[in-house]
Amino acid sequence: MRLSPKLVSIIGFLLFWQIGQAQTVTLSGYVKDEATGESLPFANIINKANPTLGTSSNAYGFYSLSLPKGDYDITYSYLGYNDLVQTFSLQENKSFDAELRQGIQLEELLVTAKDEKENVESTEMGTIELPVEKIKAIPALMGEVDVLKTLQLLPGVMSAGEGTSGFYVRGGGPDQNLILLDEAVVYNSGHLLGFFSVFNADAIKNTTLIKGSMPAAYGGRLSSVVDIQMKEGNMKNYSLEGGIGLISTRLTAQGPIVRDKSSFIVSGRRTYGFDLAQPALKGGNLEGTNYYFYDLNTKVNYRFSDKDRLYLSGYFGRDVFVFKQKTRDLFFRLPYGNSTATLRWNHLFNDKLFMNVSAIYNDYDFSLEGGQTDFSVKVFSGVRDYNGKIDFDYYPNPKHNIRFGANYTYHKLTPNIANATSGDDVFSSDLESKFANETAFYLQDDIKVNPWLSTNVGLRFSMFTQLGPYTSPLSGERFEKGDPVTTYTGLEPRASAKVSLSETSSIKAGISYNYQYLHLVSNSASTLPTDIWVPSTELVKPQKGLQYGLGYFKNLFDNKFETSVELYYKDLQNQIDYGESFVDDPAVDVENEFVFGDGWSYGAEFFARKNLGALTGWIGYTLSKTERQFPDIKRGEVYPAKFDRRHDLSVVANYELNDKWQFGGVFVFGTGNTYTPLRSFYLIEQNFQTRYGDRNSARIDDYHRLDLSATWTPKGRSFKGYASSWTFSMYNTYNRLNPFFIYYTAETEDNLAGASGTAVKVAIFPVIPSITWNFKFSTDRKNEK
């Protein structure tokens, strides 16, 4: 893509500034895993003598630290790895790749080390890194390790419903989370109606959640960023790992293509339960009925030189449900899934200026086909993006870490388009796909003002243009392909600051203003594959969100415990929902069914985490309130949002008894979800009908659940190229019947001789035990103990 003149002048200014700061020397390089050569993103690099003058590696593991000439002890640290302390006598610019050793060897075991002070010392607020090893140690539903469900255990993040991977962050809707897999937006992150996320933990390196003030590099969503990075592939040794659980089987292969230069990883996962049932269905009335989902993650990378590296990664995942019934010649076929591809080029201009250029494609498509004899109907929807990005990391001196860049996306959004055939007759809805350009420029600077004050300031400019073909529902005007229909622009300032109170405590504050141009509105308790992403148009205005945050961070007992209290207030404009008399009609464009209003939420989050020792884990508690106000809902009065939850508590614990046994436990408690209650029954055509009361004016029972797990590694840590482990887990250990949904019925007898009404709470996840077996072969014998 072409750089705008504005961007070029910024780069020029920065390079000039660098010359003015030439008194220092620069230490730069990559932070990597010693055993696999995987780069380690967001590792901390700290000058031991003066910890405030540190930096961290970027998303690709690159770091640059400029210091006055002299002798230094530099500490490199990364969650789950042993610290590396390296002594340098810096008289000139120096390049050094730090190779860190994992604190433990089996992934199922819990991390034992981390940079203890990061909690207090980073400027970021509401940002949490979760290396996948940490996620794997937590008990999982049916043994299926799930990145998104682990995020739900953090304060401020709420599960969208029992067992689902959907989530709400600080009172924002499910569409307000930007979920990125190697920079590609994932529009539907759930398999099997959202009960499992599409992220196969075996292929994932790191997950970052940003729920506080979003840095200017990110945009397009109001509430949070979940930035998931795939593993790059082992640069040094080959390995094959996999496992079998209740739901899926998994296999991952990785290794060098050219040692220390190029590597690959291929990781697949597939369900198998219904496949096994196929022989039993054969010849029967339901022959051909099946359900499965799969994921395939692939990535290769090549290091051309010390300054250039290329990555190509892809993700392909799909759910397929087929229902067939012979006597009525009835069938349904429901496939849906995501594909993403990311091509990235890292280039180092010099030891202070790092560039990444990405070309990204992503596609989510849903279709439902059904029919009987000579009648069939097909409904399809989806999102397809072509995305180009350029990002620069610039480290002019130890006091500044500047990032800037640009992002362009061409969107194609297909609403539910329905086609039907009946014999030779063909019917179709008049709906057509919508198109848009989305562009953004940003600049941000992490500034260390003095030893006790640091700030991060940023500005993002975003622009969204709806493009034809489109017929205006307001004026009736016809726009041809590529014609601009409506343009929205947004100036999105972001700022945060940290004041150190002592070695172990600090106060942080942040403010951010965000625009969101794509929307997904759900009529259900959680998000579903049938929900449709829609762009901002003449009718649908961009959503806007303003968030304030304030936090106190304190480490206790020699940094063994990190604790924090964060307060937030969020103001949301142009929120979207379905009207009260919504009917799901495929012939009608959903944007005509929308109603618009405002929302706000506020809360306090308490977090205490212990990262060291045999017993580790955290406690997170959130006290919050989330409300909405729409002129067309509840007569314009304020009502609680669907995801308003007063209390939300998560306790996560892991205990490593010895090399062979490790235990995990999770307890969650949440105030019951809101729902719209029945107001009355009334008679029409001699049948009782249900009439509902005010939206979200009742609450279902409080939610609580305890999960336990035990992992047995028969050979302990002393594996010789081969290792295996068994994980036994118990979901909902004390069999709490948490209502998943409720429904009402009223049945009248003939002649109106009587009637009966029922209200029913339905729980779908009782106690569920599961066993998962994992194995790993590796050609790596260096790290044996």
Binding site: L193, T289, Y291, F321, F323, K326, T327, R328, F332, Q372, T373, F375, V379, N416, A420, S422, G423, S429, S524, A525, S581, F582, V583, D584, A587, V588, T676, P677, L678, R679, S680, F681, Y682, I684, Q689, T690, R691, Y692, G693, A698, L737, P739, F740, I742, Y743, E749, N751, L752, A753, G754, A755, S756, G757, T758, A759, V760, K761, A763, I764, P766
Partner: protein, 311 residues
């Protein structure tokens, strides 16, 4: 077309264990609303216009015939006006009718009664003079004065759009010979929105509406085509997937095919969507009404009735 129902099927198909617990919801403690159910017909075998006035009731677990009697709203002033005249509707109840005539009179109101069973004291407001007769293209305003409240509504009887080429055939080669599907054709008028509703009757047992009885022509405006009409099934005990919507060989089937106006359609479409959209994958729908000051519907029908032996 109901994507969400398919999802429910998937959920069930996966054999997830659903544990159901009955509960008594909190009493909403709201004043009951007055429910209007009134129709005016033009066309084949047009029923006389009538209005039922009932009250909504809070959640109940059981409801006996006496309570049914209390549902009916009495002593209302019910008036229908067209562009020329005003007609007063008079209240009468089952108990006012001589016993031998009750069934016939109720059938006239489209109310299906099983013979030889006790009835609640059903009450309706009707035009006892017989001068109010629905006409195609006319608009009828309803006004009701009751318990100090004014309730109004308006409906139009649109042009009828007939069905043709009605016949029965076996749905698939695997299905039993005794069960047939009904096929028919329509020429939908182009360039305008049409709204349809249908009911079916078997062996003169009274017309019943299927679960999905109403549709608009957004999907087939101006097209001519053949399609399948499902038989209306019992709501109390619906049959399984193998027989659902099929007609039994030898029965006499009648189809009541109606065109209705938009507000009347919105009532049925929201009501029927609401009836199936409970559960985990949707929330709720408030049924649209064209009644001001109450809920329910005042609807005009242009009626065509087709009769055929299932063969």
């Amino acid at each position: 077309m109901k994507n969400r129902s398919i999802l429910l099927l998937l959920l069930l198909g996966l054999g997830l264990v659903a544990c159901e617990t009955e509960f008594t919801p909190d009493d909403a403690d709201l004043d009951p609303e007055i429910v209007v159910e009134g129709f005016i017909e033009a066309g084949d075998e047009a029923l006389p216009p009538f209005v039922l006035l009932t009250r909504s009731v809070p959640f109940f677990s059981s409801f006996d015939p006496d309570e049914f009697n209390n549902l009916f709203v009495h002593d209302a002033e019910v008036v229908v006006t067209d562009d020329l005249n005003t007609y007063s509707l008079e209240e009468f109840c089952v108990e006012d009718i001589p016993e031998p005539l009750r069934e016939a009179v109720l059938a006239l109101l489209g109310i299906n009664i099983q013979p030889d069973e006790e009835l609640p004291n059903f009450c309706a407001y009707v035009d006892t003079t017989g001068t109010l007769q629905g006409q195609i293209g006319k608009t009828y305003d309803l006004s009701i004065e009751v318990e100090g409240k004014m309730i109004t509504a308006s409906t139009t009887i649109p042009e009828p759009v007939p069905l043709f080429d009605i016949y029965f055939q076996k749905p698939t080669e695997f299905s039993p010979d005794s069960l047939l599907e009904l096929r028919c054709s329509i020429d939908d008028p182009g360039g305008r929105a049409d709204y349809y509703r249908y009911l079916t009757e078997i062996n003169n047992e009274g017309f019943v509406a299927p679960f999905q009885s109403a549709t608009d022509d957004a999907f087939f405006d101006g097209q001519s085509f053949e399609f399948v009409l499902s038989k209306a099934e019992s709501r109390i005990d619906p049959p399984g997937i193998d027989t659902f919507g099929l007609f039994t060989l030898g029965d006499t089937a009648r189809i009541k095919w109606c065109t209705i106006d938009e507000a009347h359609y919105r009532f049925w479409s929201t009501l029927e969507f609401n009836a199936v959209s409970q559960g985990p994958f949707s929330s709720y729908t408030i049924v649209d009404t064209n009644v001001e000051g109450g809920i329910g519907v005042w609807g005009g029908y242009a009626v065509r009735i087709y009769e055929s032996i299932v063969e």
